[in-house]
Structure formats: structure tokens, C-alpha cells
């Protein structure tokens, strides 16, 4: 069991002021079988109205409106997570099939299919073992390099480039699993250190009706240092911020995540 303190900071800066800003944020870790969140503190500024809801994946969302003119919009979330890596998240079996099918971002093209064909057939392996096998193969084939891919880069595009970031690792692995019709999902979260959010995957285990978390960027099973924020079919489902506003010109986004052991 580990105890981690986390803080997430996001700020949007607009070149010229905006108004009628409607936002929907998905950056709030929730408690589940694996992690227990306490001492949560949330600050969203500016916000005239805000409310919360759970999306269809069970992710906590806060949505609201900032009507008046502003040049900056910021979100700060902090709290403590107690994580027990011996436990996995229980799966709602009714919702499992959704995660078997490809989405726009996780559609296998010629290159991913060709890569998948180099693997031996699925037999004698559990879904989890198969996913780990593919993760290892992907780790040999794909390189970590920031700046080459973007938020809307598909798994096939990233794989064809041969390099990318955590989002790309996760989505390529999901695409490979979905060729085998293995239910799997995309996870956004935080890991120790200072930087941005991280992304990894969860593989469905029919033996235990659980989601087992693995991190293809680091080629390992997720341990007690992984704080989960949200999950979905792909990165789009886990979008941290979906907003619209009037005016603004160019905007820049600053994200700072700090996770450290809590004593």
C-alpha cells in the first residue's frame, strides 16, 4: 500500500479575452477498489455555474460556465491517494463488449495489422498474457519521443511514425488487443514526479471479471504509484477538458502535475 499526494494544475491563457466559456472537465481521481481518494480540493476559476456528473464510463466530470470576459482559465485539483496495487478494479460485465471494438483513434490500418500478423495465434494464453506479450513486442518496436504526435493522432499514424508518447503507446496497444477482440480500455492518470498526466491501459480478465492495469510506455504492470483519473475506449473519451468559448485568438495550455509520496 502506498500513500501519494497529488496536485494537478491546468491553465489556459488566451491571447485576447474570451467570454461565454462553457467547459467540461474530467481531471478528478475517484475512489475505487484500488485507490482511495481523500482530502480532495478543487478550484476552478473563473466559473459562474458549475455542476458535477458521472459520464457513461463512470468518470467524474465537472461542467460549467464562465460568462464574463477572462483571459485565463485555471483548474487546480489536489488530494491524497491511498493505493493498494494488490487489488484490481472490478468490471461491470454488462459494459464489457463496448471495449472490444475499434474506435476512430484505435482503428487498425495496414501497418498495425502487418505487425499483428507477426505474432503467433492467441491460443493457450489468457487475455492478460496476450496483452503483456504484445506490450513487450511493441516496446521493442516503438520509441518514446515527444513532439512528433498530437492529441488527435491515431494509433495507426503513430505506429507508422515509429515513435510517440504515452497516449500513442496506449492506443497502439489497445488497437492490437482489439484485433483479437480483447476488451481493453484507455486510462489517464498521474505517476510520481513532476510533469504532465500519464496514460496507460487496462486489460479485461474474464477469469476474475477485473481490469488489470499495464503501462506500455514503461513496459510494466502498474504498481501502487499509479493514480487513475479516468478511463474510456480511447483518449477522446478521457479528454481532460472539452470547452467552447467566444473570442480568444490563439490560446496556450500549461499543465503541471506533481505526485510525491505522502508521509
Amino acid at each position: 500500500m502506498s500513500r501519494l499526494h497529488y496536485s494537478y494544475h491546468m491553465q489556459l491563457s488566451f491571447e485576447s479575452p474570451v467570454k461565454e466559456h462553457y467547459f467540461k472537465l474530467r481531471c478528478f481521481p475517484s475512489s475505487d477498489e484500488r485507490q482511495k481518494i481523500s482530502g480532495e480540493h478543487i478550484k476552478i476559476f473563473p466559473a459562474h455555474f458549475s455542476n458535477s456528473e458521472r459520464d457513461s464510463f463512470g468518470n467524474m466530470c465537472i461542467y460549467g460556465t464562465a460568462l464574463q470576459t477572462h483571459s485565463r482559465f485555471s483548474v487546480d485539483v489536489s488530494g491524497t491517494a491511498e493505493i493498494n496495487a494488490l487489488f484490481n478494479v472490478k468490471a461491470d460485465t454488462n459494459r464489457i463488449p463496448v471495449f472490444k471494438y475499434e474506435t476512430k483513434l484505435t482503428t487498425a490500418g495496414a501497418n498495425i495489422r502487418a505487425f499483428h500478423r507477426t505474432f503467433p495465434p492467441l491460443s493457450y494464453m489468457t487475455f492478460y498474457e496476450r496483452a503483456v506479450f504484445m506490450m513487450e513486442r511493441l516496446f521493442e518496436e516503438f520509441y518514446y519521443m515527444p513532439g512528433k504526435t498530437g492529441v488527435f493522432t491515431t494509433a495507426e499514424e503513430a505506429f507508422s511514425l515509429g515513435c510517440g508518447v504515452c497516449q500513442d503507446y496506449a492506443q497502439i496497444l489497445l488497437t492490437l488487443c482489439r484485433i483479437d477482440r480483447i476488451p481493453c480500455r484507455y486510462v489517464t492518470g498521474m505517476i510520481p514526479g513532476e510533469g504532465a498526466t500519464h496514460a496507460w491501459t487496462e486489460i479485461y480478465s474474464p477469469e476474475s471479471s477485473e481490469w488489470i492495469a499495464i503501462d506500455p510506455t514503461h513496459n510494466r504492470k502498474c504498481d501502487g504509484t499509479y493514480i487513475k483519473i479516468s478511463s474510456g475506449r480511447d483518449s477522446q473519451d478521457c479528454a481532460i477538458n472539452q470547452g467552447v468559448f467566444t473570442g480568444g485568438g490563439r490560446q496556450s495550455q500549461e499543465i503541471k502535475v506533481i505526485v510525491a509520496e505522502a508521509f
Binding site: Y22, F23, K24, F49, N51, E53, D55, S56, F57, Y63, T65, N94, R95, P97, V98, K100, Y101, E102, R233, D237, Q242, G243, V244
Partner: protein, 441 residues
Amino acid sequence: MTLAEDELYKHSDSVNEQLARYGVKFGIYKNGVFHEQLFPFDVIPRVIEHDEFAYLERGLKQRVKALNEFITDIYSDKKIIKDGVIAEEFVYSGSGWLIQCDGVKPPKGIYAHISGIDLVQGKDGSWYVLEDNLRIPSGASYPMTARYICRNSFPAVFERYHIENNRNYAELLSNTMEYVNTGGRSVILTPGRYNAAYFEHSYFAEQTEAPLVAGNDLIVENEHLFFIDYSGKKERVGTVYRRISDEYLDPVNFNRESLIGVPHIFDIYKKGNVALVNAPGNGVADDKGIYYFVPAMVKYYLGEEPILQNAPTYLPFYEKDMKYVLENFDRLVIKDVAEAGGYGVVFASKLTGEKKSEFIAMLKAEPRRFIAQEVIDFLDIDIYEDGKPVPRKADLRAFVLMAEEPIVWKSGLTRFSRRVDSFIVNSSQGGGFKDTWVMAE
């Protein structure tokens, strides 16, 4: 029954002229350019006898009930999949399934408020359902307007025959909107005048006295929806009859590029604070692949034998059906499940040589993408052209409105192909329309 043909023919031009003046038009995009076209009207009505319509009515109510049950099930327990009646591939990889709607209950449990069911009548007189249009079916405004003009142009004909009045559509629509209303006004949300059916949006607003609004006339504040009128007055809204597709409805929940939607409308809809007519996500039931399963749905949910039949359909996804399709390829019509409006329809007999083998290769590679149907030889009905009646193919879009119970509008949109031997009747492909007379006795 013999109609007073001469009297009708005499008014053909003047009725069309008046329809043009009323603005009975629809828009189409061709090569990225927007054109508005008149919708050609034919004065010879399609006549459906009382008993025959009563049969259609029973079948349509049953079908829409089953479709509504299906959508409810798919977004909650998914029993029909677990029981193996429908293959999950057709649900989860279809374009109509919206993950955002999973677990959401619409007001009064209605998903299909206004359904447009397309039927054709075969040469042997039997009716077949060709398509269920549940998302935003349009077309009722055309026969409504045409009836109004025809009654004024040749009132004597309407005195002679006992025809069901079709002018109650606006009342049915108002009832449907009111039944699910969560408190406040009912409004009609249009994407704007460059939409194909803008005439219809404005006509319904006029007829139902519901304000016609654009996305920026509506605002979500503190979990409720408000309409701000031209004078700045703010009023609560309880029902939105939205003529904007799911994808563009709400930029913070669906396509973020949408400028015509209302931010957060979906969030408050989920909480039961506004009714959306038709309900988001209901397109899961009007997918061409799902169509195949509708007769099975009727049995599954209602425990009844389906009254209306589908056109004989095959899913190449199933091996047995694929075999049949390949063996009988030349006499089938193949439809791409992702296309609508008469696009993506291939009559296999018209394919030759390379085109044919290419198409078969595509069918084998992506079997989920297609359905195959027997070509139904529709009953021809007469249209008036160059001073005489000539036979043309026609279909019928029947409208079913759901409130406490489904109600079938006693009329419909009869569309016909203006080209000899063409089976494609869609208005976007140059087809015309007729009034549909349902006899009162």
C-alpha cells in the same frame, strides 16, 4: 374508386405554383455548393383504403413499440444481446450507437418520439418495410401543405370523398412534445436556413406555435435550459424538438467543432431537466444492419408475431447469408449500412467485369458494412406528366408519433421516382411527392 382526374389535372400547374410561393423547398449540397430546389408535386394522390390503412397502422404501432423497447434495452441491460438475438457487432460497431447515452434514461422512457417508416407495396399488393428512420425523419410538412392548397384549389373533390383529415399533424406533434416536457416551453431547434429541411422546421414552428430557435437562442444555466427571445426575455424550456443531429447537438459532449449546438444541453438532459425529441442515441435502431433484426425484436420484446414484414434481407456477416448473397449476387440490391438518402445503393445486376469483382472483394473484406436485399418489384402508381398519367415507382413514409401510446398519422409522404424504371425515390436524388389519402370508411 375512380378519381375526378380531369379536375385534378387541371390544377396541376397552379398547385405547384402555390407550393413554390409557399417556399416548399429542400436544400441539397452538390460539390460543396448549396442549392435550394422545389420539391415537385404530383396532383394524383396515393389512395389507401380504410381497411388497408388500419392494417398498416397496427403493424406500424407494433414496430415502433418494439424499436423503442430495443433502444431502452440497448442503453440499459442489453438483454437482447445476452440472449443471442442480435449480434453485438451490429450494435457496438454501428454508427448509431452512442456511448454517451449508455445508462441514460430519457423523460418518460421515450427514445423514438417521431419515426418515419419507409414502406413499399409489392406488385402482389403486400407491403414491406424498407427502412426505419428514427433520428430526424423529415417530410410530414410537404403533404400537409399540399393538402391545404389542394383543398382550396378543388374543394368539391374533398366533399365527394371521405378522406381522413391530415391537418392534425401539428396537434399530434404538440402532444408528443408536451407529453415529455419537463417544465417550460417546447421549442423547435433548427441548424439554420442552410439545412435541407428548413422549410419544414419553420412550418412546424408556425403550426405548433413553438418558437423556432437556433443554438445561440438557448442557454444552459444552473442545470436548466432557457430560451432568450428577441427582446431579451428569458423563459424556461422543457422540450426541444431538435432538428440537429446528435453529433452537433452539444459541443462539450459531442463534436467540439459544432457551432450550431447548445453547450451542456446533453448534461442537463441526462439529469432529466429537459426532453430532447428525438432522444440522442436512437440511431442505434435505424442502422441498416439492425433493420434485419426488427422482426426478431417484435417477437422478443412484445411476444407477438410481426404484422409488417421486412423486404427479404441478408447479412453477409453471417456465413450462411454470405453464401446466399454470392450465389444470387446478380439479382440482389446491396446497401452500404453507413449511407443514407439513396446513396451507397448498388443494384448488383448493373455491375460488370472489373467493377463487379472489385465489389465482391470489398464485400468479402468488410461483410459488416453491407446488407443485401431481394429487389422488390414495387407496384407502380400513376403520376401526371405531359398531359397524361404515366406509371412510376413510389414508396410511402408513414409517420408514427409517440406519446402515451404510439399514434400513426393518417396520411404520409408518398415519394416517387421521376425516371422510368428507377427505384430511387429520394428527394435528394430528384424525386417528387404526392399527397396520401387515407379513406375514412
